[in-house]
Amino acid sequence: METTSKSLVKSEARLAYLLLVPSFIILIMIAFYPLGSVFVNSVTNKRFASSQKTEFVGLKNYKKLLGFKVMVLPPVIDDATGKQKFDPETGDAVWESPLDVLPTEPVRYKELSQFSFMGAQYVIGATDPDFLQAVGDTVGFTILSVFIETVLGLAVALVLNSAFKGRGFMRMVMLIPWAIPTAVSSRMWEWMFASNRTGFFNILLDKIGINNGQFAFLVESSSQLWVMIAIDVWKTTPFMALLILAGLQMIPRQIYEAAYVDGANKLRQFWSMTLPMLRATLAVALVFRTLDALRVFDVFQIVFGANRYSMASFAYYQLVDNKLMGYSSASSVVIFLLIFIFDFIYIKMIGGVDSDA
C-alpha cells in the first residue's frame, strides 16, 4: 500500500509538470525578455528611438520618481503689527511661498500639496510631483472602483442567479458594457460628460436645476477621479458579476436545501454558506481586478491625455513623448511592486488560494 501511494504521488507530479509545460513555454517565450528588459532599463538612462549611448545610472531614476520632502511653511509677518499677515479679502492666513521654501539643489523639488497640522502649514514637495500624484490617484481609483464593483457585481450575480423570467436576456444585457472596446466606450462616456448641454449629465443636471448645464466634469479636478471611477465601474462590473455568477453555479443546491430544513434564513445562508464558498472565486476576481485597475491605461489616456495621469499613462507619456525609456521603465517597476504588495495582502487576507485543498 505504502509503495503504491508513493508511486502514485510520483506519477501525479510527473503529470503535473507535463501539464504545466505548455503554459510556461508560452509565457517564457513572450514574457522573459520584455519583462527582464524593463528591470535592466530601469537602472539606465536609455532613451527610446535614439542613438545616444546608454549608461548605467544606478537608482537615480527611482530617486527622482519617489523623492519627496515635507517642510514647514513659515508665516508671512506683517511689518505693521508684527503678527502673521491675513489676506484682506478671504481672511485666510498667509504663508511663505513653497517656491522659496523647497530646496532647489541638487535637484528641484516642486509642490505636490499643502496641509495644515496643529496650527502650522506644511508643504509636500516632490522631485516628480506628477508621478506621486499619479500613484495617489491610481491607488485611490483602484480602491474605490474595485470596492464598488465587487459589491455591485455580487448583487448583480445574486439577482441573476435566481430563477425569473428573462434571466437569459438579462445575462446577455449585463455583458454589454464589457463587450464594448474600452477605446470606444471611453469616448462614449467622454461625450456623455461633455461640458455643455450636448452631454447627457449636463442635460440631466440642468433639468433637475442643480447646475446651469455647463459643468466641466472632465476638467474640474474635484470630479475627474469620480468620472473615471464611474466609467470603470460601469465597464467592469460585468466581469465581476460573471465570475461570481460562475462561482455561484458551482455551489451545489443540496446544501441550501439542507440549510432550509435546518431553519437558516436567507441572510444567514448568504453569510455562512454562500460567501465562504465564494471565497476562492472572490479572491481570484479581486486579485485580477485590482491588478487591472492599478495598470489602468486606456481610459485615462483617452479621456485625460497628459492632463491627469494614471501610473501606466505616466509611463506611456515618459516613453512616447519624452523618450525617457529608462525613467519610464523605473516607473513600471514601481507599479509592479505596488501591484505585488496589493496582491500579497489580498492573498494573505482571503487565504484559500495557495492553501492546499
Binding site: 507530479a13 503535473a16 509538470y17 504545466l20 505548455p22 503554459s23 508560452i26 509565457l27 513572450i30 520584455p34 519583462l35 527582464g36 528588459s37 448583480v156 439577482v159 437569459g168 438579462m170 446577455m172 454589454i176 458594457p177 463587450a179 464594448i180 472596446p181 477605446a183 470606444v184 466606450s185 462614449m188 462616456w189 461625450w191 450636448t198 452631454g199 442635460i203 440642468d206 448645464g213 460601469w234 455568477l245 460562475a246 453555479q249 458551482m250 443540496q254 476562492a280 472565486t281 481570484v284 486579485v287 485580477f288 495598470r295 486606456d298 499613462s313 509611463a315 516613453l319 519610464s328 521603465s329 516607473s331 513600471s332 507599479i335 509592479f336 488560494v353 495557495d354 492546499d356 485543498a357
Partner: protein, 289 residues
C-alpha cells in the same frame, strides 16, 4: 414560522426594481451611443441634446443613417471584425486548452513548487502593457512573426494567467474524492481530468472563455503597435480609432458610435449562444458531499 408569505409581494417588487435598475445601469450608455450613432454632426451639436435624434428646426424625430452606411462601406473596419474574431478566438481556445491543463495540475495534483509556480504565472501580469511593449516588439521583429500571430501570442500574456488562476480556483472547489474514486476505478489522472473533472467545470470554462475572448477583442495598445506596418491585420478597436471623417478632418463621432453599436452585436450573439452553457446545477448530479 409566522406568516410565511407576508413578505413575498414586497420582496418580489423590490426584486424587479433591482432588475430594472441593473438593466438601466448596464444599458443606458449603450442606448445613448445608439442615439448618438443616429445623429448627424449638426444634430450632435444641438443643445440641449435630445434623447432621440430630432430635426434641429422642426424637432420631429429624424434618424440619420449615413453613419451606418459609412461604417459598412469601410473595408478596414469590416475586415477588422474578421481579424478580431480570428485573434480573439484563437487566444481563447489556446488559453482554455493550456490553461485548463495547468489549472488541473495546480488545483488537483500534488507536486513540489506549486505555490511558486502560481506566483510566477501571476507576476507575468503585474507590469503595465506599455512597459513590456517595446521589449515584445523587439522580440517579434527579431523572430519575424506576422502581425496576426504576434497578437495571438502576446495576448496570452494577459489571458493565460487569468484563465489559469480562475480555473485553478474552480478545480480546487471540486471534491478530491471524485478524483480518488476515478483512480480506484482504474482511470489514470489524465483520464479522470478530461473525462470527469473537465465536464464538471463547463460553466467555469465557458465563463472564463467569454471573459478572455472579450479581453482579447478589446485590446488596443498591442494591436495598434503590431499592425502599424500591416494595416490589413488591424483589429476592430484599432480600425475604429483610426476612423477619419468623410468630408472634413473633423472627427466622425457619429460613425464611431455606429461602429461601437455594430461590433457589440456579434458579441451579444456569442454570449447568447454560450450563456445557455452556464446552466444552473450542472454540478449537482455528480457531486455528493
Amino acid at each position: 414560522m409566522h406568516k410565511p408569505y407576508s413578505g413575498r409581494p414586497l420582496l418580489r417588487i423590490l426584486f424587479w426594481i433591482l432588475i430594472v435598475y441593473i438593466f438601466i445601469h448596464m444599458t443606458f450608455p449603450f442606448l445613448w451611443a445608439i442615439n448618438s450613432s443616429l445623429k448627424s454632426e449638426g444634430q450632435l451639436q444641438m443643445t440641449p441634446g435630445t434623447m432621440v435624434p430630432r430635426d434641429p428646426d422642426t424637432m420631429k424625430v429624424s434618424l440619420y443613417l449615413r453613419n451606418y452606411a459609412a461604417v459598412f462601406r469601410n473595408k478596414t473596419f469590416m475586415r477588422g471584425i474578421l481579424n478580431s474574431f480570428v485573434v480573439a478566438g484563437s487566444v481563447t481556445l489556446l488559453s482554455l486548452l493550456f490553461g485548463s491543463f495547468a489549472a488541473f495540475a495546480m488545483g488537483k495534483l500534488r507536486y513540489r513548487g506549486k505555490t511558486p509556480s502560481m506566483y510566477i504565472i501571476l507576476s507575468m501580469t503585474m507590469f503595465p502593457q506599455v512597459s513590456v511593449l517595446t521589449g515584445l516588439y523587439a522580440v517579434i521583429r527579431v523572430l519575424g512573426i506576422p502581425a496576426t500571430l504576434s497578437m495571438i501570442l502576446t495576448y496570452m500574456l494577459m489571458t493565460l494567467p487569468f484563465t489559469i488562476w480562475v480555473l485553478t480556483s474552480f478545480f480546487r472547489g471540486l471534491p478530491t474524492s471524485l478524483l480518488q474514486a476515478a483512480q480506484i476505478d482504474g482511470a489514470t489522472p489524465f483520464q479522470s481530468f478530461y473525462q470527469i473533472l473537465l465536464p464538471l467545470t463547463a460553466p467555469a470554462l465557458v465563463t472564463t472563455g467569454l471573459l478572455a475572448f472579450i479581453q482579447a477583442w478589446n485590446e488596443y495598445l498591442f494591436a495598434l503597435t503590431f499592425t502599424s506596418i500591416q494595416p490589413s491585420a488591424r483589429t476592430v478597436p484599432v480600425a475604429i480609432a483610426l476612423f477619419t471623417g468623410e468630408v472634413s478632418k473633423q472627427e466622425p463621432f457619429g460613425e464611431i458610435m455606429a461602429a461601437a453599436v455594430i461590433v457589440t452585436v456579434p458579441l451579444l450573439v456569442l454570449v447568447m449562444i454560450f450563456q445557455r452553457k452556464i446552466i444552473a446545477g450542472l454540478v449537482q448530479g455528480a457531486v455528493k458531499y
